[in-house]
Symmetry: C2
Subunit: 313 residues, 2 copies
Amino acid sequence: MNIGLDMMGGDFSPLEAVKGVQLYLKGMEAPATIFLVGDETRIHPLLKEYSIPSGSVKVVHAAQVIGMDEHPTRALKEKPQSSIGVGFQLLATGQMDAFISAGNTGAMLVGALYSLKPIEGIQRPTICTILPKENGGTGVLLDVGLNADCKPENLNQFAILGSLYAQHIVGIEQPRVGLLNIGEEEGKGNILAQAAYPLLKENSQIHFIGNIEGRDLLLDKADVMVCEGFTGNVILKLAESLHGITKNQRIVNDYFERFDFEHYGGTPLLGVTKPVIIGHGISRERSFLNMINLAQKMIASDLLGKMKESFLS
Amino acid sequence: MNIGLDMMGGDFSPLEAVKGVQLYLKGMEAPATIFLVGDETRIHPLLKEYSIPSGSVKVVHAAQVIGMDEHPTRALKEKPQSSIGVGFQLLATGQMDAFISAGNTGAMLVGALYSLKPIEGIQRPTICTILPKENGGTGVLLDVGLNADCKPENLNQFAILGSLYAQHIVGIEQPRVGLLNIGEEEGKGNILAQAAYPLLKENSQIHFIGNIEGRDLLLDKADVMVCEGFTGNVILKLAESLHGITKNQRIVNDYFERFDFEHYGGTPLLGVTKPVIIGHGISRERSFLNMINLAQKMIASDLLGKMKESFLS
């Protein structure tokens, strides 16, 4: 399998990306060939410095770079030879099986939505995050920001995508799906949640357990937690802030250690035809390693095939 | 001043309510007469047991009780002699200056909205909560669940109400107002946030600092944080859960200790013509004490007069 990695994306690239690749290749199972997309004059010296054998990676030159603050659509149009632009060309034409970048998030989303198609039947692709559960488990929250305004059917589709992700990537056999809401009973909530509830209830592809509330997000109630991207993004960023706060408070605790986003590496874009992973701008070697591992798992488990199957008919 | 307290509301009433009153009367400044609304046959023995002098309280008999799970509108209609029903009658007719209950939240809201009027000019009353800031400060978040779906102008009004609350109750001279959003720049966010931004920006009654994100909620960025009640309620309940989680993780930390809702007592209903405070069902003596103190502060600062003034013209 061929995994593409944007070597120019993120605040500490290409150095930290190279270090992440080194960690990956040192691992016991490293079956993928990593395509390193970016400025070869900057990549080659680092490969030498970090003793990365040329057979296990493939450098793909990209002469341009999209900056972190550039306007996504404009940048992609004006810089077709950027690492993100080249990455999506290779992904769309099947030369790579997944693409990872810690670069301009907007450009990654726009690039993915324009160069790849949504899976047939899916109205809106989505991004999800992992939420550490206090009992040691792992939850999946989605959407976390791609779809700030949603229709009820979008939430219903997120539930299917999140369930497949929880099953095949997180390893939860029968993921419990909860609708994030502001009351426990059916009929509670805003207009969207009220309308989404019956769709989720009647959806035979998921194991719907009803509404969950803010207090349940970190507890062992639902494995897949569904909401529109506004609330989801606020929760994601609030949860991420807890790691820094506990560090600042000099709290040493395994559970809050799990709120370090580096453990998860990046956010997968679900609902498009190929695996795409979007990393944090401040990604370091461990994040890059984890994103490569996540891409590998998405390819090996044929997650995308399973998603396509679910939305057939 | 006369502060009404529902003695039958909450899981541990009337005992914990009586204990809260005792704590209040023991305090250095206890200028208010507390109206104890509820079943006198249950209240009088407790007053004796806790040596509460009859001059400092006034027992108002209410023969009925609205249960925690009763349907609010129906219960209020069928039980006019309930402690909540009687409380709102006394409040509406000016015999009491504030009313507090840890009972059925829905009944408190319905009772307040029907027996009191919204302040002239206010489209939607709101409820707010305190969020402890990591630097030791205190933030005000609103709406936290009363208005699950909002119009942009509602958020603009919440900003004014929250600013006055922060100023006169929390003691922040010029509260910074942030619009909770999923991006920093103007133009980001869902349809509601995009439309609310220019209203807040042009509002000369508040000190608007722009968008804030989930990661800013617990940091010293904005004093008043405005959002619709769906997201706000999820945040409130997530924040409340942090206290139990840190306790469970055996973390001893002053900052997370501040996530114990008992420190704040109850949620004020803002935008109606009289002070109304709604407590948690599991309120204990300290919560009741804090709710009485909050009511006293709302009366003494003439918060309601200031709100009425702000919405004149």
